[in-house]
């Protein structure tokens, strides 16, 4: 990957997140990245091809993060890490995830692309096993509920809509008997 290719990706990621895929023109991306508009199409084929590339990158990185999560052997510890997961990975790579996730939630077409992707199933698998190990009464329902909660936290965090996230974490940990 050439330097300019990377620059295009970074710029697009940032702009898509700020104003949405539909509102950002390829011209703006090119200007932001300091390259010619044509280069975007040379490298990514189309505006949607560029988006695909970004989404794919996000999926792969997310899968790697989930692998890390999965390797925590102690179930309580793993559940605690899961609750902290949104914040953890956003903190580790702030700009990147802010935009990746806001793309995901802001956009119609992308939601589809993401949804078929492996990592949702993987995440549910991890959670289900965890609740199982911890002998929760209804691991399946617990999983489903927590997936919703974590999803909504992801969205809230990238939109800076949560101030007292730490407080919320303590609160949740108590609910899940982790304290």
């Amino acid at each position: 990957m050439t330097e300019k290719q990377r620059k295009i990706l970074d710029t697009a990621l940032e702009l898509f997140a700020l104003e949405g895929y539909n509102s950002i023109s390829t011209k703006k991306i090119a200007q932001g990245a300091g390259v010619s508009e044509g280069l975007i199409f040379k490298h990514f084929g189309s505006k949607e091809g560029l988006l695909d590339y970004l989404v794919e990158e996000g999926v792969e990185l997310m899968n790697r993060e989930l692998d890390t999560l999965m390797q925590i052997s102690d179930a309580s510890e793993r559940l605690r890490a899961t609750l902290r997961f949104p914040k953890t990975i956003i903190d580790r790579n702030p700009a990147y995830w802010k935009v990746q996730i806001s793309i995901k939630f802001a956009n119609h077409e992308i939601k589809e692309k993401y949804h078929n992707s492996s990592f949702m199933g993987k995440a549910m698998g991890i959670l289900n096993d965890t609740f199982d190990e911890l002998n929760f009464e209804n691991p399946q329902m617990e999983t489903q509920l927590l997936m919703q909660i974590i999803g909504s936290f992801f969205m809230a965090l990238v939109n800076d809509e949560i101030e007292n996230y730490d407080e919320m974490l303590s609160f949740l940990e108590k609910k899940y008997n982790l304290k």
Copy 2:
């Protein structure tokens, strides 16, 4: 409001929901509504004016639904109704809310408009009072968490992403000691 005015609003609502505000042209709306493109501008000034009108309508109806919720005197009953709230109002007016809510969640600009609107505060007020009356330990945190959960249910429901919603409700009611 003339018949054509109403037709424009209904068509726009549906199309915005299906493909997103940015992807729908005024031409498509006009064709769908069977009116001339000019008429949209005569009545609503601009495409954004049309959107504003729709959002405003949604806010007002939501406020009325919340008023109904608020009038439930028994706190347990009220909390139960709150959990059921997303499904209840969507069932009462399926097409309407499917689109109103999917507009809200799919779109950048609209999110802002909605967010400043009164009903979020009102909803939080109701929830806070309810948890208070029910002597929950930390009403504020409970409120914040349940707002997230309910929000994510709204989104899941309009996208038909939840199959076992009733089971989920039972599960939640148990969590909130309503059973």
Copy 3:
């Protein structure tokens, strides 16, 4: 048809003929016609839609010219008129046919469109009947040959590649025993 619509058609016809369909941009047409580029698409849908319209117009006018030819009752007279046909109709509507025919012969896609069109069959029918009435030995072959000759004259005339057309006509009339 509004005045501007007609202006677009006339300008396009002229420019297509001068430099070929592919080499003329919709921008050039709009500038030449003194209208906005968008108007072309409002009225004709696409650049190809504009071409279709022009071709269709040509087919219809050609059919009408052939009807006139067909109404000549005397066979010798009709054959003489047929030989003169290219020049006759080009003289009657010089600019129009110059471009219509040069479009037809210069362009790949259009050739197809024209070829399926009725007037080729109609022309062959007229010629065949004529040679029949005049008791030519092999009317079918005569028809086929003369169609080729007339076609090549059309092309030569619109490209101003023939100086001594009248001489050529006399020569042909002798060949066909019309003198």
Copy 4:
């Protein structure tokens, strides 16, 4: 000439014939030939340079074919060969002439290039001498007419628009007293 150079020429010839010079991009040629786009410009300077090279090649080969025709000493035989000329050379080198000729007739710019080229004059010279030797009354007019006919046969043949070419040849030979 390197192997890649030849591949470029062959690919371009074929593509130009299929879709026209203007509609074929250098990218398509490069892809079809399995070379980089840059190489086309290295070897031929520009897209038009590539075209020039192709046209020149065609002119030279055509000239050689005409030389062969010219060497037929018997005038009747030569005229017969002339009538068969389009079919003869197309059969001898089918792919090559199909495209060379369809380029010539399909394209504006190329027509000019061809027209100034030597072989048209040479062909007319041969025909004129032939009709002279055969004591036709008006060799010049005969020449002009037959040039048109042969031209139109070339075009018809490359477009597969003639089924009964042999029958047509017999018919013509009779017309020219060759039978």
